[in-house]
Amino acid sequence: MTTNDTTNRAIRARKFPTGEATRWAMRLAAPAFACLVASAAIAQEAPQDGVYADRIDWGVLMDLSGPTSASQSIWVAGLQDRIRKTNEAGGVHGRRINVLAEDNRFNAATDRIAFEKLVGQTPVIAISGMGTSASQVALAPTIKAGKVPIVATYTSTKALSEPVSPMVYNGFCGYKEMAQAGVGHFVDKLKLKAPRVITVAIESAGGKEYHDYMAEAVGKLGGTAHHVTMKVTAVDVTPQILEIMDKKPDFITIYGVPNTAILTMKALQQYGVNIPAFGITYLGAPQIFQSMGPQAGANYNFVSCFTPSGTDNAPGNVEMSAFADKVGRGAMKEDINYVAGWVAGQMISEALDRTGKAATRAKLVETLSKGFTVDTKGLSALITYTPQNNTGPVLFRMFGYDFEAKKFKGSGEFADSAKYIQ
C-alpha cells in the first residue's frame, strides 16, 4: 500500500468517520443500487389490475403443501387444466390467462400474506379458491370493502357469502344444500317418516356447522339428528361405531377427510352394521371407495353438485375427461375436486370473456354483479348468479361406486333435488 493511498484513506476517514464496516457496506451497496435502478429502468409496464398486453394474471389461494393439500391441490389442477384449454384455444380477447397459485399451507397468517401479495405485489384481476375457512372469515371484511373480487370459492363461510356481496361468487356446493339434498334423497329413497340421522364428523368448526345444517334439515321432517365426532387422525373408531349402533340411525352422513369416511364405513362393516351413508362432496374420490372395499363401499355414497369423470356421457364430462387424459391428469379426473376445479376454470374463462377487452377489476365486478349463468354442459346443473344470490351450484345428485366397472354411478338428475333445496 502506497503512502498516497494511506493519506487518501485518512482524509476520507476524517470526512466520513464511519469506519471500515460502513465503507464496505457502501462499496457493496453502490453497485447493487445501480444495478437495481438499471434493471428497474428497463422494467416492465406498471401492472394494471394484473392485466397486461399479452396476459391476464388470475390468483388462486389454496393449500398446496399443508394438511388439506390432498384435496385442494387437485382442485387447483382441475382449474389450471381448464384454463390451459382456454389458452390453447386462443385465450380471452387475445390474452392468455396466467394462473398465479399461492400456497397458504392451511395457515391463516400465510393466507393473509398471500392475499395481500395478490392484491398489491403481483396484482391479479381476481382470486379463486380461498380454501381455509378460518382465513376466509378473517379476510371477509377486507374482501368486501376491497377491489379484488373472489370468483369461485372452494368453500363458503357465512362470513364471506352472507349477506350477498358483489365481491364474492361461490364456486363449490354449500354445506347447507348438501345436507338438504342428502336428507331429501335418503328420506325419499328409504321412505322414512321421522328420520333418525347421525352426523359423523371430525372435531372441527366446519363439522359442527355441517351438523347444525343437518339438524335443521332433519328437524323440518320431524326427525332427529345426533352428532358423533372423531379425531382427524383417528385409527380406530370403535367408540363411535358403538354409539352409532346404540342410536340405530336410518342413515348416517360423514363430514371430514377421506380417512373419516374410510374408517367409519370399514368399521361399520366389521361390526356387521348395515346402514347407508353419504359423505359431503369433498369426499368423492375413487380412492376412498377402493380403500373401503366392495362390501363397505356398497353402503357409501356422496352427494355432489358436480358429476365426476366417466359417470355419464354428458358433453361437458366427455370434454373434460379427454382433456385430462391428453395432459396426463387421467389419474386425477375422477376426483370430485378436479371436476370442481375444472368448473371453476370455466367460470373464470367465461367471466373474463364477458368482461371484454378493456378488463379491470372494477369492470369485472360490474359485469359479474349484474348476474350471469355458467353452462357446464352436464358437469353440473346450470349455475346461475343473480344480484340477489351468489350461492353458485345448488342442485345435487347422489353418487355411488360400481366396483366391477370401476366407475361412479349417479342416481337421478340434478333437477330432482330442486324440491329439497330451500
Binding site: P67, A70, T229, P239, A331
Partner: protein, 288 residues
C-alpha cells in the same frame, strides 16, 4: 361394550407400542429424540404402496422389500445426518429431525403426488365373533405382528451378542469403546431397527386408513407413549403404547373424542412430575 372398547384399545395400542419401540431403540442408542418418527411411519406406508401396488411384488417379497429399504434408509439417515451432529445440544438435534421430516414429506409428495393412495394387500380384512366380542381380523393381525416384533426384539436385546453389544453401547459409550465395541456400527443398527419398526407400523396404518402424509401425526402419538413408559425402557415403550391406545379409546367412549389427547397429556404431565423416568424406566434423570 367395555370389552369391545378394551380390545380395540389393545389392538391400537399394539401399533403405537411398535412405533414407540422404534423410537426408544433410537433414543437409547444415540440420545436422539426423534420427531421424524412419524414421517418414518409414512415412509413405511409408501414403501408398501411402491412394493405392492406399483411394483406388484408378491406379498412376502414386498414385506422383505419394505424391511430392507427401511433399514437402509435408517442407516443412511444416521450416517449422513445424525453422526455429524453427535454431541450437539438436544434442541439442535430435535430441530434436525423436524427438518428431516419436512424434507421427507416434500419428497414423498413430489414422487407420489398429493392425493392419498389405497393400499391393497392380501391381509385379512373381515371380522369374526369371539366371546361376545367382534374381532376385526386386520386389527388382530396388526396386534399379533406388533407383538411378534416386540418379543423378537426383546429377545434380540437380551440374548444375542449383537443385542448385548447394543445395550452396552447405549449404556456407556466410553466404556463400550474401550472394550472394543464398534459403537458407531451399533448406532447405525439402532437407526435401521428404529426405522424398520416404524415402517411396519406404517404398513398396518396405511392398511387401516388411507396412505397419505397425514399418517405422520398418528406416528407421533408414539411420543407420549414413550415418555409414559420411560424413555430408556424397551418394555416401557410397549406398555406406554398399550396405555395410550386404551386411554384413547376409553376417553373417546366415556368422555369425548377430543378429550383423549388431553387425558393422555395430563397423564404425561403427571408422570413427568411424579416419576420423570417413566413407569418402567430407570431413575437417572439428571444426566439427560
Amino acid at each position: 361394550m367395555l370389552g369391545q372398547v378394551l380390545f380395540s384399545g389393545l389392538a391400537l395400542g399394539s401399533i403405537y407400542g411398535l412405533v414407540a419401540l422404534g423410537f426408544v431403540v433410537i433414543f437409547k442408542a444415540t440420545d436422539v429424540f426423534n420427531f421424524a418418527q412419524g414421517m418414518f411411519v409414512v415412509c413405511g406406508a409408501y414403501l408398501a404402496v411402491t412394493a405392492i401396488s406399483l411394483l406388484g411384488l408378491p406379498f412376502p417379497v414386498a414385506v422383505l422389500f419394505i424391511v430392507a429399504v427401511a433399514a437402509l434408509m435408517g442407516m443412511g439417515i444416521h450416517a449422513l445426518l445424525i453422526r455429524p451432529l453427535s454431541g450437539r445440544p438436544i434442541l439442535s438435534i430435535i430441530m434436525l429431525t423436524i427438518a428431516l421430516s419436512i424434507v421427507l414429506r416434500a419428497l414423498i409428495e413430489i414422487v407420489y403426488g398429493p392425493a392419498g393412495r389405497t393400499l391393497a394387500s392380501p391381509l385379512p380384512s373381515g371380522s369374526f365373533a369371539f366371546a361376545g366380542l367382534r374381532i376385526s381380523q386386520l386389527h388382530l393381525t396388526a396386534a399379533l405382528v406388533s407383538w411378534f416384533c416386540m418379543i423378537t426384539f426383546g429377545l434380540f436385546f437380551r440374548f444375542t451378542s449383537a443385542g448385548l453389544l447394543m445395550r452396552a453401547a447405549a449404556d456407556s459409550h466410553e466404556a463400550a469403546t474401550i472394550s472394543g465395541v464398534r459403537v458407531d456400527a451399533m448406532n447405525r443398527l439402532a437407526w435401521a431397527i428404529g426405522f424398520t419398526l416404524a415402517a411396519i407400523g406404517g404398513l398396518f396404518l396405511g392398511q387401516l386408513q388411507i396412505v397419505s402424509t397425514e399418517l405422520e401425526s398418528i406416528g407421533l402419538l408414539a411420543l407420549p407413549a414413550v415418555v409414559i413408559g420411560g424413555l430408556q425402557s424397551i418394555p416401557g415403550a410397549i406398555l406406554g403404547g398399550l396405555l395410550v391406545g386404551i386411554i384413547e379409546q376409553l376417553a373417546s367412549t366415556y368422555i369425548s373424542p377430543k378429550s383423549s389427547d388431553v387425558v393422555i397429556y395430563a397423564l404425561l404431565l403427571a408422570i413427568l412430575l411424579l416419576r420423570p423416568w417413566g413407569l418402567l424406566g430407570q431413575k437417572a434423570v439428571n444426566r439427560v
